[in-house]
Symmetry: C2
Subunit: 394 residues, 2 copies
């Protein structure tokens, strides 16, 4: 497996383009093939989520593409919201002369405001006319779906047999994905049936997007689409395809965490020796969700007790007398708790502080109760996060 | 029922005093009688929590008092931590010439650092010698247990028959109490047996301290003690006693929320028409826990969709088509969602923004699915919260 350039346009059979003007944005991604999707578990689901779920159910064999917008989440918009989401799908379906059920719809932006349909209709022709399979198409679509994101997020790999998997995503705040994340679009040219595609996607999501937390708010709009164009043929080894898909999803998820609203640092928390995979995930996510620990990372304050405290309330089994805790910046590391014995001497804390000064903090908690482990990604909590969210609609 | 002055010293049979120097503090509270307690459900429990739970189990009929310190949480401090917590109880027990199991121990401060026992031993005599039943004693004990708290928190009421219930507490960050809160001490001169006392306390806590969230971090040190000195005799009406205890606990809990680290506003979220009390509590707590909603309240940004989003992921049953949402400042109010229909016109949003400018925001969500309701308290998320927690130990 190797990383390749070009984002979603690295994948054979994918065309994309997008436009962004202020807070408004429109993206189109064309790809013909079996599709899979995962969506938010929030009980208040945005209209495009409801419509896309319905389309995935009714599409028949193949999807034809996706239309996505920023500037309005089209969530909590009552009946009009559903009409608008269907109208978005129809725009693209009509142009392609296909069944609207073969089109996915995605939205991101403010909740509770109606769609500014004239703007999207006005800009549709321009975006459609520029659709391209060149790398620029992926970049433009990526930029079009950004909201508080500071950087576009894309990743693509090539596995054996020349099969490629590429994805773009957006997401920076309201991030605790539950079965999806704020708008991710992944494509592959592998030839894979729909049922297997959905299975592969669910596996990849559980160990990538579902392990990212920026603020613990599960969005109303989370969605992740995966379309397989089949143009590169069947994968020789499905395990390698899964690895490739996992890698693309994990790299995208990490980009979401690093670009968390106001973030200055990426936090990667790994919990080993848990009794079950659920325990490992609960514990790892509790660490990266804790506002106290996130603030301490921002201030390079070696207040490691907050990480142990978070594991304690996470719901995971823990025997405090067995726990070990290690901080690392990827090069040097420092042991802060060794089998239950804390190390709070000045030298150790000074070393921890130095390690926390880098742009990535690796936290490892060894529970020594079993054989399961999990990794979660998050970011620090900063003044900037408060700035961004104190005046998002005004 | 009427509010009375004097904090815990309003209660007959209570003596208190405390001393505070920088981050270090020591408080002693004497009260002879049956005792009840609730403690953190965090699996990493501080040594004083473990020791106090053991003491409550073994005390026999009556407690004699409590010794509490700030400056060190004595949590994740291995075997030495338990020895130190026992030593703290022994200090007071020896002086009173009583069984150490009749003494409660509480600590608050940084996790993972050893107790500075010489400091506490050095200051013990001074605090003990000044113990008084005058109001000043309650104030001094209250100040001695503060950490990032900006104001001491106390409340006392008198119910019929001259029975009084008074409490003090501290807590500002690491606040999502689960069966207690960061150090609360409540006393009553009612004559009530231990089993009934524990039952009354659990009821009061479920509707007060367990409904407060500052940052969603459940502390290692939460504890709430209730001692009944009996000096005012048996309550004529246990329902009125419960009301009095509820009031004291709720007022203290609200004070914790309003004094949340860096807070400028109190948020009171009430959910009505829930299918069950559990649903009502989940939904109310999700609103006041959401960092996005808390940031919007700070910036008076009428981004009400975040409140509905939080209810959606809270785990509570919700039918978006039935939901209503109202913001109020206690005087005027504005309807933002009416039976599923959002109101996002400029006039409505301007009114919401004006209401959000006051120091208390009342959020009401009507689910219209059942008969249960609950209220939770929290605060806004501010730059100051990040300031405080980015450099707590340094």
């Amino acid at each position: 497996m190797k990383e390749v350039k070009g984002g979603i346009c690295a994948v054979k059979g994918v065309k994309a383009w997008g436009i962004k003007e202020g807070k408004m944005g429109l993206a189109i991604m064309l790809a013909k093939g079996p599709a899979a999707g995962v969506f938010t578990l929030n009980k208040v689901k945005a209209a495009p989520v409801l419509v896309s779920q319905d389309h995935l159910k009714k599409m028949g064999k193949e999807f034809n593409g996706i239309i996505a917008n920023s500037g309005c989440a089209n969530a909590f918009t009552h009946e009009q919201g559903v009409k608008d989401a269907i109208a978005m799908a129809n725009l693209l379906a009509k142009k392609l002369n296909v069944d609207p059920h073969t089109i996915g719809v995605s939205s991101t932006g403010v909740i509770g405001r109606p769609m500014d349909m004239p703007w999207y209709i006005d800009h549709f022709e321009e975006v459609f006319s520029k659709l391209t399979s060149k790398a620029e198409g992926s970049e433009m679509a990526n930029k079009a779906i950004m909201t508080t994101d500071l950087v576009p997020k894309s990743y693509a790999v090539e596995i054996e047999g020349g099969i490629r998997i590429g994805g773009i995503c957006k997401g920076s705040g309201m991030i605790e994905p539950n079965m999806g994340t704020m708008l991710a679009f992944v494509f592959t040219d592998a030839k894979i049936g729909r049922a297997q595609l959905q299975k592969c996607l669910q596996k990849a999501v559980d160990r990538s997007f579902n392990m990212v937390v920026v603020d613990g708010d599960t969005s109303t709009n989370d969605n992740l689409f995966l379309i397989a164009t089949g143009e590169a043929g069947k994968p020789a080894d499905m395990k390698k395809f899964q690895e490739g898909l996992d890698t693309v999803c994990m790299e995208l998820a990490k980009k979401v965490a690093r670009d968390g609203e106001g973030a200055t640092k990426l936090i990667e928390a790994t919990v080993t020796g848990a009794k079950s995979i659920e325990d490992a995930r609960l514990a790892a996510k509790a660490i990266i969700r804790s506002p106290l620990f996130k603030s301490a990372v921002y201030g390079t304050d070696p207040n490691w007790g907050r990480a142990v405290c978070a594991v304690g309330y996470s719901g995971s089994e823990i025997d405090p007398a067995k726990v070990s805790l290690i901080f690392s910046d990827g090069k040097s590391k420092v042991s802060l708790v060794d089998a239950g014995v804390p190390k709070s001497d000045e030298k150790t804390l000074a070393k921890a502080k130095k390690i926390m000064g880098n742009d990535t903090l690796y936290v490892t908690v060894e529970l020594k109760l079993g054989k399961s482990s999990a990794t979660a990604w998050g970011c620090d909590l900063t003044h900037k996060y408060v700035d961004i969210n104190a005046s998002y609609t005004t």
